[in-house]
């Protein structure tokens, strides 16, 4: 018997969620991070990952079962984009958002939007869309019991949101925020206290590593380990394979510079590839700005015994899961 309706009716206005597990359903498996808020703020109380998709919730370890779940989904067809609509926020009803996002079949996608900024003549709308089948598959393991799903986000946006929440300095500066997933790269550019650019590109770590391996005559995994570990000096090849991504970022930066008259002076990156700092080097060179790698497991305090050094070193992989969970913790009513 589902008593959630009765329970919510007697929650008397809602309670702040203090224990959330964030899930990242990605191309390379499932990653989960359990976060809890205490006197010392947000604390990591558990981390879990699996290579296979999570279809049976019973395989999920008991110590990771928080009451609430925040789900992030990455998919090549997922869309996240900041649009500038030349209308006030009250007159967006007939805007063809699906067309603007390049979605041919709107029925097959689940779309949502947040108004990032609005004034009389223009509204900045942050739009996200994921295939309905992927949304249903991600929510299926959480159809009953705990953890109970509270949010469903695009993984790239969740990761960047987590990055902003963990790095308050970003609010006051113009920065490029990059989440490099296995299949998709999400780029956001900020100006002080304003979101200026958000796009997703189908240039993921897998594509970059595949091209690098082809150039070096080795498979992608070997190229990742050899170049990332500094065994092979492949500066020119790395620059070449990163060029499509850096070019897109440069285009975005130029757009922001023209439109907002602000030039981003720092890059924050997250994603599993950046477990090795060497992969941030081509971005630093191409963009000619400082690069900071966001490792959420290193940034956030951890509960005693929750993390070991090896897991912390792998923390970049959990950016989307952490970001999704932080989004819940930050958005529940006080």
């Amino acid at each position: 018997m589902d008593v959630s309706g009765i329970k919510s009716a007697f929650s008397f206005g809602g309670r702040r969620l203090r224990d959330v597990v964030g899930f990242d359903f990605g191309a390379s498996g499932v990653r989960a991070v359990r976060l809890a808020t205490g006197r010392e703020g947000v604390v990591v109380s558990g981390v879990w990952s699996a290579e296979a998709p999570l279809t049976d919730p019973l395989v999920f370890p008991h110590e990771m079962r928080a009451r609430a779940a925040a789900i992030a989904v990455s998919h090549p067809d997922a869309v996240a984009r900041l649009l500038f609509i030349p209308r006030p926020a009250s007159k967006l009803d007939d805007v063809p958002f699906a067309d603007l996002l390049g979605i041919a079949d709107p029925q097959a996608f689940r779309m949502a939007m947040e108004i990032a900024h609005s004034h009389a003549s223009e509204t900045h709308v942050l739009l996200a869309a994921i295939p309905e089948t992927d949304a249903a598959a991600a929510l299926h393991p959480f159809a009953q019991g705990i953890p109970a799903p509270q949010s469903l986000e695009v993984a790239g946006l969740a990761a960047i949101n987590g990055l902003i929440l963990c790095t308050p300095a970003i609010e006051e500066q113009s920065a490029i925020l990059l989440d490099l997933g296995a299949e998709v790269a999400t780029v956001a550019i900020t100006t002080p206290r304003r979101l200026a650019f958000v796009r997703q590109f189908r240039i993921g770590a897998n594509t970059i590593m595949k091209k690098l391996g082809e150039r070096l005559g080795m498979d992608a995994e070997t190229a990742r380990e050899a170049v990332g570990g500094g065994v092979v000096d492949a500066t020119e090849q790395i620059r070449a394979v990163f060029d499509p991504l850096t070019n897109q970022i440069i285009l975005g930066r130029d757009f922001v510079s023209r439109r907002f008259n602000v030039r981003p002076d720092h890059v924050y990156v997250s994603g599993g590839l950046f477990r090795s700092p060497a992969w941030a080097q081509p971005l630093q060179v191409a963009l000619d700005v400082g690069v900071t790698i966001w490792n959420p497991l290193a940034d956030l305090p951890a509960a005693s015994g929750a993390l070991d050094a090896e897991t912390v070193a792998e923390g970049c992989r959990f950016a989307a899961a952490v970001g999704a969970a932080l989004g819940i913790l930050e958005n529940t009513p006080a």
Binding site: K7, N161, L195, G327
Partner: protein, 222 residues
């Protein structure tokens, strides 16, 4: 500045609180409060309805009170009148038709007898109530209900005769009361002992006798 776009549908969001003692206490408290409120509400509504009904009845009573008291007085008078009528009916029922008896006596009375006195007696007797004796220390027995009064009637005939067949004539005269119309009314007609005797008058002859016949009528219970 947040990049959070929540794609979950409202119906897919489930409440994530577990059933805790606190929740059960709240639920129980809410149910008890609801029950208490319902009871108080019900009592309040019923009391209001009754107060309204009472006011309406009082208003009606205010209009009917004088008529009601008048009706009560009339009813009291009616009952008294009905008692009187009932008593009169009883008396009418038990009334004895002496004319029939006297006519029958006049027709059948022997010529040799001279009637000197005829007296009729009517009496209403209330039978005594016998209260049973109670044993010492025991609860006194309940006294029986009073018996209804009895209406008793008697007739006494006194006369003289000088007939040689006086004794037979007096006996024949007594026999009148065993025949119609006395058969249903007279229970006993006797010549009291010593009532048929020599006339004690000074100038009475040897054949002059006096006699007396007493008739007792059937007792009628009122």
């Amino acid at each position: 500045m947040k990049l959070r776009v929540n794609l979950i549908a409202e119906k897919e969001v489930r409440d994530c609180s577990v059933v805790t003692p606190r929740f059960l206490i709240r639920l129980t408290g809410a149910l008890v409060a609801t029950a208490v409120l319902a009871v108080f509400g019900w009592v309040f509504i019923v009391s209001q309805q009754r107060a309204t009904a009472l006011k309406a009845e009082e208003w009606k009573w205010g209009r009917l009170e004088s008529d009601f008291k008048q009706a009560q007085a009339l009813s009291k008078r009616l009952r008294a009148a009905e008692f009187i009528v009932a008593d009169l009916d009883v008396w009418r029922t038990v009334r004895h038709k002496w004319s029939d008896d006297l006519t029958a006596i006049a027709v059948a009375f022997p010529e040799t007898l001279q009637l000197t006195d005829l007296s009729m007696t009517r009496a209403t007797v209330i039978p005594a109530v016998v209260i049973p004796k109670s044993k010492p220390g025991a609860k006194p027995p309940r006294s029986p209900p009073p018996s209804p009064p009895e209406f008793r009637t008697s007739l006494r005939l006194t006369g003289v005769t000088s007939s040689p067949t006086a004794e037979d004539d007096v006996a024949g005269c007594r026999k009148i009361f065993t025949e119609h119309p006395f058969t249903n009314t007279v229970t006993a007609a006797v010549i009291p002992p010593g009532a048929f005797r020599q006339d004690p008058a000074r100038n009475a002859g040897p054949n002059d006798r006096i006699f007396e016949i007493s008739c007792t009528y059937r007792v009628i219970t009122l």
